[in-house]
């Protein structure tokens, strides 16, 4: 590579980094003050792009129209962020952190459908920036003028933010609230106004980031989750809450990506490596190195100790198998009761598999205290492992299903090694980043995985071809898996895990190696999720990268949260309600996501302890005092 082409790629990378920086800065700012991880930040970016597109169409493709549209999009998205804060989040600041997450995820669903309804499913290609549509020649390379403009805008914005945060009263309040918002309130500052303001600014940054990409990137409905994953990587690398950190990390990652694309396919030691396809893997390597060297990111600091009024969490009882066995047997009888209802069978099979999936995630989220945003990685990896083992290695399906969980467990072991080094939001973001990487490896490895088409012909052998038989197999295996996980939770291992979650220092002091336990739990949860994934593959006959997508991960997250993290059996209820509801809605309307999102919002606002937790509380209230 010549120096000139290096320079050209550098500039390209910097231009791409500017929007990433804005989204990540907004995310960081909002998290710092309100402790809300705004899952909808990618959606706000996406909307910013769409709104800018439509505004330019309306105002005309003139410089004034173009920059006017950028400003309009920024303000509209900022106002939308403020609205989300006022209408939803304000009501649940006192609820557990995870519920706020669930709420912002519901917003993702709603925004996606709103965008679908207004702008349609087709990609929309925006105009070039009027007045900046040509290229400049730098050392014989043509560099778009607009890229240069972006390279200037990002540092200016950083400067502006920095001045706002360090030179104004608002900035002092924001920084003070980032450290101790309760104290800020006790000093007479109206936290609600401050929070709404922070949401406005954070959302506006996302909107601006999206709008500025108008000439570079077509607007499409997949941007929301793609951008949030990138933003998570940037915030984790830069350090949560640090805006300069976000800037440096965005540049680092933007440039690394651009270089990978520029390298294209190179032969290293006789091996053909396609670097352009490895972009995400390289991004992951950067992140891994940073996290090992600096666990809280380049400019981050260990999260301040949360001031929380001591909560008393009562230990739920181990579910009694004598009570559950008849229940499972009853389920097994359903195919006899409704022999011709294929739809019901498929639904029940799905529910059984997703129950196992949700319970395995719950093991991480509840007793281990590790929230995973990327549990589908293991589900998807195992589904693919099983399918590939059968189709390409010609192993019998039974063997493939038995081996797949070990593959998923091994992957979880690798990812877990990094994840258990972190905690809380950092850990969650890291799991999401890993899942996104897994997804893109599956998506891009055409020769092995069939790429975006996935693999077909993944059918079980003759003895399982009957849907009823397959359901019985699934039911038995999933029930066993769930039983084993529960057993584990109430074994010394499970108690040690909980001790590690509740007071890591004390647990260490009595000789519990918390990190090791968590690592093991991580791998175990991954393996059981994998069993679900393998069963799922053969129940459908075909698989696609969707199985490892963020959407699949968040499905599991929603199931657990709907059921209630504090309960043991909640995730099963969550999985059943979720799967059934999604199915019902998807059959009735194209806009099932938004309906679903609204249902989640309603549940979150009504039952901040999850459905099972909420019902249990209602029961305690109405039960006659005895």
């Amino acid at each position: 590579m010549s120096f000139a082409s290096i320079l050209a790629q550098l500039l390209n990378g910097l231009a791409g980094a500017s929007s990433l920086f804005m989204v990540a800065a907004g995310l960081s700012l909002i998290f710092g003050v309100t402790r809300v991880v705004n899952f909808a930040h990618g959606s706000l970016y996406m909307l910013g792009l769409y709104v800018a597109y439509s505004t330019v169409e309306f105002l005309g493709r003139t410089p004034l129209g173009f920059w006017g549209a950028i400003v309009v999009a920024t303000i509209v998205i900022g106002a939308l962020g403020a609205l989300i804060e006022i209408a939803i989040l304000r009501r649940i600041y006192r609820a557990p952190e995870l519920f706020q997450l669930l709420a912002t995820f519901a917003v993702v669903l709603v925004i996606k459908d709103v965008a679908l309804a207004i702008w349609g499913a087709e990609e929309l290609v925006g105009p070039r920036a009027p007045g900046l549509s040509r290229t400049v020649e730098i050392m014989g390379r043509r560099v778009p003028q607009y890229d240069l403009a972006l390279i200037v805008i990002a540092p200016l914005l950083l400067l502006g933010l920095w001045l706002a945060l360090t030179r104004t009263r608002w900035g002092a309040l924001v920084r003070a609230a980032t450290q101790d918002r309760e104290m800020v309130g006790a000093l007479g500052v109206d936290e609600r106004k401050l929070f709404t303001g922070v949401f406005f600014v954070g959302a506006a940054l996302a909107g601006l980031g999206g709008a500025l990409q108008l000439p570079r990137e077509p607007a499409n409905l997949g941007l929301d989750l793609a951008v949030i994953a990138d933003a998570f990587v940037v915030t984790v690398v830069g350090g949560l809450g640090s805006i300069p950190g976000a800037f440096i990390a965005a540049i680092l990652i933007g440039v690394v990506k651009a270089f990978c694309i520029a390298l294209g396919t190179q032969s290293v030691l006789g091996l053909e490596i396609s670097f352009s396809k490895l972009t995400l893997v390289v991004e992951f390597l950067v992140m891994a190195i940073v996290l090992v060297v600096r666990p809280y990111g380049l400019l981050g600091r260990p999260p301040a100790q949360q001031r929380a009024v001591g909560e008393i969490t009562t230990l739920p009882n181990m579910p009694d198998w004598r009570r559950w066995l008849p229940f499972v047997a009853l389920l097994a009888l359903i195919p006899f009761a409704a022999p011709d209802d294929r739809y019901l069978l498929v639904l029940l099979t799905d529910i059984a598999i997703l129950s196992l999936f949700a319970v395995s995630l719950h093991v991480l989220m509840g007793p281990s205290g590790m929230v995973s945003f990327g549990h589908a990685a293991y589900f998807g990896v195992a589904a693919y492992a099983a399918a590939i083992l059968m189709r390409k290695v010609q192993l019998p399906m039974e063997v493939a299903v038995a081996v797949a969980p070990f593959v998923a467990g091994a992957v979880a072991l690798v990812y877990g090694w990094f994840c258990v080094r972190l905690s809380g939001v950092y850990l969650a973001m890291l799991t999401l980043a890993f899942a996104q990487i897994t997804w893109s490896v599956i998506f891009q490895w055409d020769s092995l995985t069939g790429g975006s088409n996935g693999l077909t012909g993944v059918w079980p052998p003759a003895w399982l071809a009957d849907k009823r038989v397959y359901f019985w197999l699934t039911l038995v295996l999933c029930a066993l898996g769930i039983g084993l996980l529960w057993r584990m939770l109430f074994s010394p291992f499970g108690y040690a895990l909980r001790a590690g979650r509740d007071s890591p220092l004390r647990a260490e002091a009595i000789g519990i190696d918390v990190r090791r336990l968590q690592w093991f739990a991580f791998a175990l949860a991954g393996a059981f999720a994998g069993l679900g994934g393998a069963l799922f593959a053969f129940s459908k006959g075909s698989i696609s990268p969707e199985l490892a997508s963020i959407a699949q991960s968040t499905d599991a997250l929603v199931m657990v949260l709907l059921g209630g993290v504090e309960t043991i059996t909640g995730p099963i209820a969550g999985a059943a309600i979720f799967t059934w509801l999604k199915d019902e809605l998807a059959r009735r309307t194209e806009y099932w996501r938004s309906v679903f999102g609204l249902v989640i919002l309603a549940l979150v606002l009504l039952f901040p302890q999850g459905v099972v937790g909420g019902l249990a509380m209602l029961w305690r209230r109405v039960r006659p005092a005895s």
Binding site: A172, R175, A176, Q179, D180, A186, L187, G188, E311
Partner: protein, 234 residues
């Protein structure tokens, strides 16, 4: 009457911490809230400012009922709170810490500016741009009081202002509290240190295990040997 607390009950989770606490602070007086470690002094002050939501009881401040209001509304009525663990904003400079506490001037209460506060706490004036995290414990204690005064309160709740301070600084703190009183502020101060309270307080309330055991003037407390030995560690 500046502050009147009647029949206050507070819980942490299921633990009943305050049981039927009643006390009052008159206009312009310094009231000492005394008690051993864990007696419930901090919980009382936090319940008054709204950081802990009392489950029962009435709190009247300057004629307005404030129980159940959010802390910022209570603070805006002119009730200042200085927490025991200081809770300085460590990333913010001294001036910025003061800025966060600033509220509009209030009738019937002294008005504070950074310059006036630097007269009261000369040390702070010499480190205006120093981040709060790089100050000594004593300096932080000064700053946390100054920060609350920036809200121009009529009454301040001081949680253990003498805790962990060197004897010389404790003297200074006592002088500061007397100055606040001279300015017309009412002060409710929680203390374990009877000696310190004796230097500044007009009246005292003793609580033990979340219940009020003594109410009276400092002179009455001096005379009541039994109350002192039974409820305070002297």
């Amino acid at each position: 009457m500046m502050l009147h607390v009647e029949g206050l009950h507070s819980y942490y989770g299921r633990a009943h911490i305050l049981a039927d606490v009643t006390l009052e602070a008159r206009e312009g007086e310094v009231l000492a809230l005394l008690g051993r470690n864990g007696a419930g002094k901090s919980t009382t002050l936090k319940s008054v400012i709204g950081l802990v939501r009392p489950s029962a009881g009435a709190i009247t401040f300057a004629g307005a009922r404030i129980e159940g209001l959010s802390p910022f509304r209570i603070a805006r009525l002119g009730l200042g709170f200085v927490p025991e663990d200081r809770r300085i904003f460590t990333d913010l400079s001294v001036m910025e810490n003061l800025e966060v506490g600033r509220q509009a001037p209030r009738g019937g209460a002294p008005t504070w500016t950074p310059d006036r506060l630097f007269e009261l706490f000369p040390n702070l004036g010499r480190m205006r741009d120093r981040p709060g995290g790089r100050m000594s414990g004593g300096e932080q204690q000064m700053l946390t009081i100054a920060r609350t005064l920036m809200g121009n309160p009529r009454c301040v709740l001081l949680d253990e202002p003498s805790e962990g301070l060197a004897p010389l600084i404790v003297e200074q703190m006592a002088k500061t509290i007397r100055t606040l009183k001279a300015e017309g502020l009412s002060v409710v101060l929680s203390e374990q240190n009877l000696h310190f309270s004796a230097m500044v307080a007009d009246r005292a309330v003793i609580i033990e295990k979340g219940r009020v055991r003594f109410t009276g003037t400092m002179d009455e407390l001096r005379a009541d040997e039994q109350a002192r030995t039974q409820y305070l560690s002297v």
